[in-house]
Symmetry: C2
Subunit: 180 residues, 2 copies
DNA sequence: GTCTATAACTCGATAGAC
DNA sequence: GTCTATCGAGTTATAGAC
């Protein structure tokens, strides 16, 4: 589902990949939606964990952690395992699936807001509303995925996050120092 | 298709909305893909025209035009009529549809790059690579749509673009002056 | 617990009357 | 140029043997 999205991933394709019969799947999961919720919950937890490991580390200063989140390695052309789901009408129509989407974004947003506020206080990031900047950072990453997939090329993503890093840091030119 | 995406918009739904029979549609368009290309070309042209009207205006200074693009009114919860298509595997698999996607983004990117370069030279925008910042601006908007749709609420979009405007302008605090 | 078979439906597309 | 009827394939889900 990470590869093809929710609607485009039919039970048939899942069964072929898993090399089991229909019965097995419907024995363990009541429906495609329940299966998707289990899979999505897993990948969302993994995504959140990686965000936490970059943002909550205590070795680097707050500004470098925010920039590190922007510049972190990602499977750009596959798309974000979380954000990708937001474009599927079937996902938004499902309470269980859209709930995972909302809570995961809310958790990363909260983390980012806190680290950004710390970074502004310490002087490494430019002064502005931390809540707004947290959504700006989230949007740059999510939008970078969109641009890269549209182009079939990771470059637009890389340009977008480098530009954002340069804008955020008070020493703009060294904005990409942290992870490169 | 703007409302539901390409894959999720079946010929049946189009015919119901248009109040015509199957025959009419297949008389004028060879396939769903051809129909979608015609519709997509229209909405992409309209989207590009609105971007041009904000970015290519000569009354405001370059920095205000970039901020104006960020803060322009949009149907946030519907999603970007162009960017929305990038998340559909069927669209990316179609040469005719993905070509519209690529060229439209390329055109807005070129416009943005030029205006941003002018704005940096004039001192209204912070100094950085204009090509990177152009993708940053595009990504903030596209990502803002993703966040807003995930939440079912336009607020994350508004925060993201306001944060970006504040970061871009040399007088960050008044970044949202242009259009509010 | 897993399998095959199949139900009930929708998909995109075509046929042929009018 | 538009209509209704229908095709074959694929969808999500269920039935029932093993």
């Amino acid at each position: 589902m990470w590869e093809r999205g929710y609607a485009s991933t039919s039970p048939r394709k899942i069964l072929d990949r898993a090399e089991v019969g229909q019965g097995s799947m419907y024995h363990h999961f009541g429906s495609k939606e329940v299966l998707a919720a289990a899979a999505f919950e897993r990948s969302a937890a993994a995504t959140l964990a990686r965000a936490e490991s970059v943002l909550a580390g205590s070795e680097e200063d707050a500004a470098s952690r925010v920039v590190g989140y922007l510049l972190a390695q990602r499977d750009v052309l596959l798309g974000c395992p979380v954000g990708r789901m937001a474009s599927d009408p079937d996902v938004l129509a499902s309470d269980s699936l859209s709930a995972i989407l909302r809570t995961t974004f809310a958790q990363v947003r909260a983390l980012l807001t806190e680290v950004i506020a710390t970074g502004i206080a310490a002087g490494g990031l430019r002064a502005a509303d931390p809540a707004e900047l947290a959504d700006t950072v989230l949007a740059v990453v999510q939008g970078g995925y969109v641009l890269a997939r549209a182009e079939g090329d990771a470059e637009p993503f890389e340009r977008a996050v480098r530009g954002a890093a340069a804008m955020l840091r008070t020493d703009g030119e060294r904005g990409d120092r942290a992870k490169r």
